[in-house]
Symmetry: D2
Subunit: 309 residues, 4 copies
């Protein structure tokens, strides 16, 4: 059992993906071994088995893999905790073999999702190009030196450091503000400290399929002034019409209003998975009205204790 095993970090490879860029934001991971894996299942296996201390995975808006797959995996693998959130600008460059100029490009190798996100630029600048689909953004660039399949490739910025390619154009994505959201997943149950700009992730199964059950679940948050930044229904898969909900709530489990919402949620449904409380990547402080301050909760408890004698 080598020491490197349980200090390594996993990410969805190969080298050069946006997921790797997200992992580069994790200070604790610097100087540790990184493992490039093929899919979310492998990433979670690394964490659960102890091969890695944590894994970086895309959770929203990804070009590197399916978000639904991530959410379903989080729901089915017990013992995982999200300990951090990271944003990576989704930015693309057009690269080619050294010596190529833009006018030479007839075919473009690109992952279909990346291709779709650069279409406007391509239609303006290479109106007669053909598209060769690639299995990943990085694979497209790597293939340039191996085959003549395509003249150019769409790839993440910085790809020229890893492969023998030249950059023909930068920022070719159609939406200059696009970001992908990643989370760092671990086995630890230690909670990151409360920062005031936190997020709490949950997966909740509705106890029954009836109009009103979803509403009742959301009331657990609304009646404590807890806002949701994400809610997504996913079929549970064991029977028609049964759903689980992936939820990101504003605030930390150490906030009284969040803890109380969790209590209500757990009473509502025994199937609540707490995925973690962690700092938001955007560092935006959570706003809530003063009627949901910690003091209001502790004040009410003191009042009740007085009544109970």
């Amino acid at each position: 059992m080598s020491e490197t095993r349980n200090v390594s970090y996993s990410f969805l490879g190969p080298t050069g993906t946006f997921t790797e860029a997200a992992l580069a934001q994790v200070v604790e991971a610097h100087g540790k071994p990184w493992r490039a894996v093929n899919n979310v299942g492998e990433a979670f296996d690394d964490v659960v088995s102890g091969r890695s201390v944590a894994a970086m995975i895309a959770i929203e808006n990804s070009v590197d893999g399916g978000v639904s797959a991530t959410q379903d995996a989080l729901a089915s693998v017990p013992g995982l905790r999200i300990i951090g959130e990271y944003l990576v600008p989704v930015n693309f460059v057009l690269v080619a073999r050294p010596g190529t100029v833009l006018a030479d490009v007839k075919t473009v190798n690109a992952h279909p999702v990346a291709y779709a996100q650069c279409r406007r630029w391509l239609e303006s600048n290479l109106p007669r190009h053909g598209h060769v689909p690639a299995s990943s953004n990085v694979a497209a660039a790597a293939a340039l030196s191996e085959s003549a399949l395509a003249d150019a490739a769409i790839a993440p910025p910085g790809i020229e450091k890893h492969h023998d390619v030249v950059v023909l154009a930068r920022s070719i994505g159609d939406n200059p503000n696009a970001v992908t959201r990643f989370v760092l997943v671990s086995r630890t149950t230690a909670l990151p400290p409360r920062t005031g700009a936190d997020k709490t992730s949950l997966i909740v199964e509705l106890p029954e399929d009836r109009s009103g059950a979803l509403l009742e679940m959301l009331e657990q948050f609304a009646t404590r002034g807890v806002n949701l930044s994400l809610i997504q229904s996913r079929p549970i898969g064991d029977a028609m019409g049964r759903y689980r909900f992936v939820i990101d709530a504003d605030g930390h489990i150490h906030d009284e209003r969040v803890a109380d919402a969790l209590l209500g949620l757990r009473r509502f449904s025994p199937q609540v998975m707490f995925l973690g409380s962690y700092p938001r990547a955007d560092k935006q402080p959570i706003e809530f009205t003063s009627r949901y301050d910690d003091e209001v909760f502790s004040g009410a408890r003191a009042w009740l204790s007085g009544l109970l004698g």
Copy 2:
């Protein structure tokens, strides 16, 4: 300061009222001095000042006094607790001076509310009678021996034990199932034990006057499976459009779901008056679905503690 002072019980007099009949149901009051008072304010004064250990007052459907007055008094006098609830059948007899028979009766002396409740019987049996209003049911009977103002009086059953009258007819009320609800009010803060058939009385001020505030208040109960048997809005009186709510909730403050609803309520509005948890007069066990069992609440707390580490 005699010892009898603080063991006496107050009730809305005079002797013979339904309120006295309610007090007769209180085992602890037997053998203690009883004080007949003129109105709810005096009754509460007796309790607050320590002149009486408790006072019996009508809270619903009363012919002996105004329910609104009782509710407003409970809201404005601090330090009171309801410790018991009592039901008295509202039943009337027609009484007259000894020697009178029904055919002799031309005028009937009666409190207007009692008179209204016996009107069908009177129209059938004394179609040509006249009505002389009285200030109370008992006063009407008492006046028979003092003046010739009326030939008969409407009075509570048993009146013939206190006054020199004969009963001409029994059960003359139009609704044979009518009951009046009374509560026993005290200064004690000791809670009557939980019986499983309990009631919790509250007065809550809405924090603002907006559509939705009332709904938000009621959600505190509904999201914990707590049913309400009474809700009544009362103008607060300090400004237009400000309301307080008189509420009877099913269950005891020692029930987890009720205690948690009180926490939510107190966070919602700092103006919550807890008037007491006490056994229901009708001894009907509270029904609620198993998802609001005490164990569900304590289970959720244990789960949350595990997460907080």
Copy 3:
């Protein structure tokens, strides 16, 4: 059948009561015969039978009679409509036989409710007086000239015009802002025009007794931005735990949001009694956010029609 019969107006008598003062505010009633009745049941009988065109009854905060009785009567007598609301300041004077001065007063004759509302003044100004209960405020004053039972009486202002008494003190009520609310009840189904400062009165039975049914009823109002100025639960009386609710909602049935709330309410419970839409006595315009404007409702309907093709 004389013509005067169906143009008369009924009120809770006798002459001089606050109810008569409320009726005096009705311009249409001037110059028509007025009928003084003994109780709410008689007042409604007059209207239903056609003896009177309308009846004035106390609906809140009354010293002249029970509000619960009024509400229950409205719920059980079909075919009634409220067509107006009136406020009367609850103001009291102390009156006595001519020649009496304040220092002479040893006993005060007063209806118990009126007495309670003047207690602070009496304790300051007549600390050693005794109380003789009366059956109505007017009866107390009338009795002064008939018997020596009391030296003074509590009565409504203006009583000196009807009875041979002198006023010893004015404005002796403890709450100088107290008002009683009255409604004018008729058989007509013509709706008073919308003024922008209207009220809609309803009686609704909950379809079942379960936690949440009340909430569901109130959502019909809240989801249309309709505020409630009164809500009161009343036992239906046919079985334990069955309730009806007396409701005053802000706005007129000709307001789209109110009409839509009534639709929702009627779908929720088949037992909805519409008691009328009428101008508020306080003439305060109803405030609501622009998202509940009539235009929003008609705009949504036009949008839906477009979809339905």
Copy 4:
């Protein structure tokens, strides 16, 4: 403008994908030209421009493309309507060049998502295999005859009809019940007739980002007994913290309860996109309690009309 143009159907290609299998379920598309496109944007362009009469796209659980991309495209391309829903079992076969047997397989070419879904089978049956990622399930099979990159490929059933391959194993997916959900998108505004087993798809923007806005939106459904089978938040993208919701509601816009919920929704938010009402692929009749029957809605309207006179 050739006639074939506006009768063709688009699908996410190449030939052999699950999306093509979904299109094969559309009876109207038989005998019409089919266009294989590269991504959702192209599919919608075909429909909007009139090149195709309709396009088949994956909407949930897809291995052929991103669901988020589909949802965002539906929200940003006006004038589209969903006219049908189709389910395709997600089933995989392992194929190889003719002459190959399972024991020969050392490397497997597969789309990463398909690979992940067959991993348990591969680990049991080919424990020492290597994975070569492909850009699509069909491309992996097609590549077998063109290069020696891999010995076998994961592909959809039926692939052997289009390519010169033999099937080494069937049903190698880890979840035998996996299905992908597709929708057929068109420009028509004619509504498919109501079948009693329908679905209504919507995209709704919350008017503000505040705790409670989501709840208020869902109440529009719950207070009309309309259940949701899908709800998904998507960042709008114009500013932090602004969300739109992708919703599938049970029932047809011709159901009174659904039409009324749409009215409420539109009043709640002016940004409601109606994506269509259409038969559910699973043909499961919608269940709802009788209190939301069409008759209840028309009965309430008749009652209100009676009041309005």
